[in-house]
Symmetry: C2
Subunit: 329 residues, 2 copies
């Protein structure tokens, strides 16, 4: 790297009281206004955290080593920093900020670290789980707008664990994608598939995040759920999940994902359904209607929420493409 | 992991406005009061950061991927999270909080990511650098208390780059420790060794931290310096460095380490010194006296600073072994 010209204001003798403003000043050389604002808030909060806790050198070192561990256990199929974000409530918060929901639309939930980008495409009626120990579940869904009109050709990602509570990617020896698929809604907004009844499961406890939960005296269980992700041009991207009513972890999800409106009860297939979908008598059935929101409506709601929140915080910023940047005179 | 009993207060329907208090409540199951306080402040600042920036899903994901990268490039000889802490001004702040300095004592500076734990022990007068291209430097030091009394048998770590600005551990093919040593002060508090004149150098630019500096429009250079670390039972641990006067990066150190009191000028050896230390005519010499502070004095100063700062912040905490914990009635 060539030795660049020095163009920062002179800095020397930095102390507890002036390090923050000087770090922010140095970072304000950044040509990207949004990044400048992100760094200003990051440095302020990071330094305030250290000042308020009088963070010891030993704790600082332990935290940095913890973060190295979180990075090093991560891989193509395991994102331990997403897991960390999940258990700190950050993932829920990010989803709530970015995907505000007007009344009668389907609420969002946490993505989690186990979504993959290459699940098999299936047609309506196919089976997503090959687990013979799983209890069969017929899933009959529609996807609509807020006026009740069906939305066709929505790309839907679905993923769940096997009956032992593990996602396919958690097995050391990969047997290929299982318990996951991508499908598309038909012209009536319908999609249906065969799955297994989801079970509660612990999020990975063998890494730094599991160890942290242990130190905090927290359990690492998630209530039984099925993940869904909806994508179609012009509609707000929806990441959500359906939770099974009565689960022992319904009100203590390790990653804060449960919402009352996302809790479902299973029924039993009718005779007509048995015949139509080729399932056995007594098979459990999940019937659910998802409601998407138009992208413009979400964008305008998000902007309004941002303006209101930032005004309340008394911050001198303006929104550019929905995101705050410093309001420099 | 056995399925533990659920013992958290019921949580559901978490939102932008209630996720923080609920995450803190869940974490307050922690049996360790100090960790409870650290997590309370961490979660508060992390969530406030997201709320104030209206952090987008894309930015959140980019940040988590960045952190994975920081972890994955780290190794036994490269701690990229220390480097990240350094360029964010956090390392300087942590040192300032933990090692407050009374008047006339030697100030601290950043440790940096290149200290190692197994440098060779050398006796007074030995050479720490094998680099033939380096300009020879004779270093004559003493270590004293604030009253000017010598302190003997202090363990001193010293490390510097070679003349190309690289530490030994930065070479892919290790040639063993070079440019570093550990030595002990003699009964008069003296220690002396032969080194090379330090040069300015860029901190590693090939990892995520270097990339971030580039995005921020910041250079990644440190002014020329020699690292020193002093350890002796009963004395406050001192991590510091001496900086060369007139360096082009004297007032823009990428990691905020420079202090006026740590800037030194080199002299030229006297005839007597040439004979005594076996160096050539015209050899540069660095003469410096380091002043350590008693551990009790530092502890009491740190406690006083902490109490004053926390009182000013209006925080309901008390100090346990010098560190704030929640003040629960």
């Amino acid at each position: 790297m060539a030795q660049p010209k020095v163009n920062v204001p002179p800095m020397k003798d930095l102390t507890i009281d002036n390090i923050t403003e000087n770090t922010i000043l140095t970072n304000s050389q950044c040509p990207d206004q949004r990044l400048t604002y992100l760094m200003e808030r990051l440095v302020t909060h990071l330094h305030d955290f250290a000042r308020e806790t009088r963070l010891s050198t030993k704790e600082w070192m332990a935290a940095l080593d913890f973060l190295v561990g979180v990075g090093q256990i991560s891989s193509d199929v395991r994102h331990e920093f997403i897991l960390l974000s999940d258990i700190l409530g950050l993932s829920l918060l990010i989803d709530a900020i970015n995907h505000p929901k007007p009344p009668s639309s389907t609420e969002g939930s946490v993505l989690g670290p186990f979504h993959t980008h290459d699940p098999p495409s299936i047609a309506n009626g196919e089976t997503i789980s090959s687990d013979p120990a799983g209890e069969p579940l017929l899933v009959l869904c529609t996807v609509k707008d807020r006026d009740g009109n069906p939305i066709e050709d929505v790309k839907i990602d679905i993923w769940e664990t096997d009956s032992s509570g593990h996602y396919d990617v958690q097995y050391a020896e990969s047997k290929g994608a299982d318990g996951r698929c991508v499908m598309r809604s038909d012209k009536d907004g319908k999609f249906w598939f065969k799955a297994i009844v989801p079970v509660p499961y612990p999020i990975p406890g063998d890494g730094p995040v599991g160890k942290l939960l242990g130190m905090l005296g927290r359990h690492n269980w998630r209530p039984a759920h099925l993940h869904f992700m909806f994508a179609k041009q012009g509609w707000d991207h929806l990441v959500t999940a359906l939770y099974v009513k009565g689960d022992p972890y319904e009100t203590s999800d390790a990653v804060f994902g449960v919402k009352e409106s996302l809790i479902v009860e299973f029924g039993t297939v009718t005779g007509e359904e048995r015949e139509m979908y080729g399932v056995n008598e007594g098979c459990k059935v999940l019937r659910h209607a998802f409601v998407l929101v138009g992208e413009e409506e979400t964008d305008s709601l998000r902007d309004r929420n941002a303006r209101e929140a930032l005004e309340k915080l008394g911050r001198r910023v303006r929104l550019v493409e929905g995101l705050p940047v410093p309001d420099v005179d």
